[in-house]
Point group: C2
């Protein structure tokens, strides 16, 4: 089993300091929503974001959408071998049921995320006997989420190997690395960044991971990293018996 | 070198029979464009498309966007090992320069495609000494595009192995198959569908490909197929020398 944790994802509602900006209010009116119920989108709110801290990395539902489509529509996920969890800049955790079919259209995806941030789950009403397709929880820091995943795996007495993907990690070949991770048969947690530039803001020392790796000498998009992990992991798993 | 041809892609301008529909005219007005200059989008033009032939597969710039982002932001492309060409339902060919950075935001991508369909290239004005980043050509049927790629490779006296990815092909393991294609060292052309459902409309006999394969027993999204090909191809290539 492979778990992918998309960490420090730049997915958030329009922050309070922007809710009275003229362009944001106009957008809210067009959408028939309150400004506080809109997902921040740097493509739409660029002007309003001028004075915002860390404005160059915030408001990227577009990146998150592409990364989730790559993960959730993958063969590994269709085969039941993938768990996808997101951690956001405001320390929410968002877990996606592997059976979910996300909207392929970006604007519909943003609408769904707005519904999720307001109601905490998708679908917003409980259906008896059914797990939610998406569940959002507040006050879940990155260290907390990782520790919970370790504890879950520990309770199953299998343990989980934790790997952080970072530009500043030691260089490895992704085909070899994830192929071997798959062949080992144990559980693996890969933590990838959900932000467009720079490095993790959380100190990597704090995360207490087993390995910090880099799969390419230049920065990569989140979905490129995601595809390299899941495709190589599955191929390693599939070819293992044939090599014996 | 690997070439990916996205065939029968559902990317087109709003067809003439829809240009006078009320919802399409309203959308054109909002965008400040003529209805004939808009990209057909099933998410926006759903109601107007009711009477359109093949309405269930048409108007999918969302799928095309995700597939192109997976291909053009891949490590294989950054390393100069990938060529990406698209064939559309109206027999246009669209070639992407490997250095292009496509908009990550969907609405900006649609705007760029509208500019491309109107002016035939991106950027729309020639820059001396520079190849266009995107080039659209009309009257390029799928058979014609494949034959030209074969002729190009033949002129280099290397030849090119042509592989069609189809639900109805013989089942192969993508890790093994594309790994071996990479290790062979020759040129490979993979033809994948750019449509959301069903099979190729062109008879596969007409295409005269070397192989027709299926990498999974159930239908896959175009970007899932694209990721399986490029990641496995690169990993096969990278691990080849180490196995000698």
């Amino acid at each position: 089993m492979l778990t992918i944790l998309i960490a420090e994802s730049e997915l958030e509602l329009v922050p309070v300091e922007l809710q009275n900006e003229r362009s944001v209010r106009a957008h809210a009116k067009r959408r028939g929503k309150k400004a506080s119920e809109l997902i921040l989108d740097s493509s739409l709110h660029h002007t309003a974001m001028t004075a915002l801290t860390e404005k160059n990395r915030r408001g990227r539902p577009d990146m998150i959408h592409t990364t989730l489509l790559v993960l959730l529509e993958s063969i590994l996920n269709m085969d039941g071998g993938l768990r996808v969890i997101m951690h956001t800049r405001n320390d929410q955790s968002i877990e996606f049921n592997s059976t979910i079919r996300l909207p392929k259209n970006y604007n519909r995806f943003v609408g769904l995320m707005e519904q999720l941030f307001v109601s905490g789950k998708v679908p917003k009403d409980n259906i008896e006997g059914q797990e939610p397709l998406i569940l959002l929880e507040h006050d879940r820091g990155l260290v907390d989420i990782i520790n919970r995943l370790k504890a879950d795996a520990g309770a199953n007495s299998t343990g989980i190997r934790t790997v952080l993907l970072s530009d500043s990690g030691r260089e490895v070949d992704p085909g070899q690395y994830f192929g071997e991770a798959a062949k080992s048969g144990g559980e693996t947690l890969c933590i990838i960044g959900g932000f467009p530039e720079g490095d993790f803001k959380t100190s990597t020392d704090e995360l207490l991971v087993d390995d910090i790796i880099s799969i390419y000498p230049e920065p990569l998009k989140s979905w490129t990293v995601a595809a390299e992990i899941i495709v190589n992991y599955r191929s390693g798993n599939k070819t293992a018996p044939k090599q014996k």
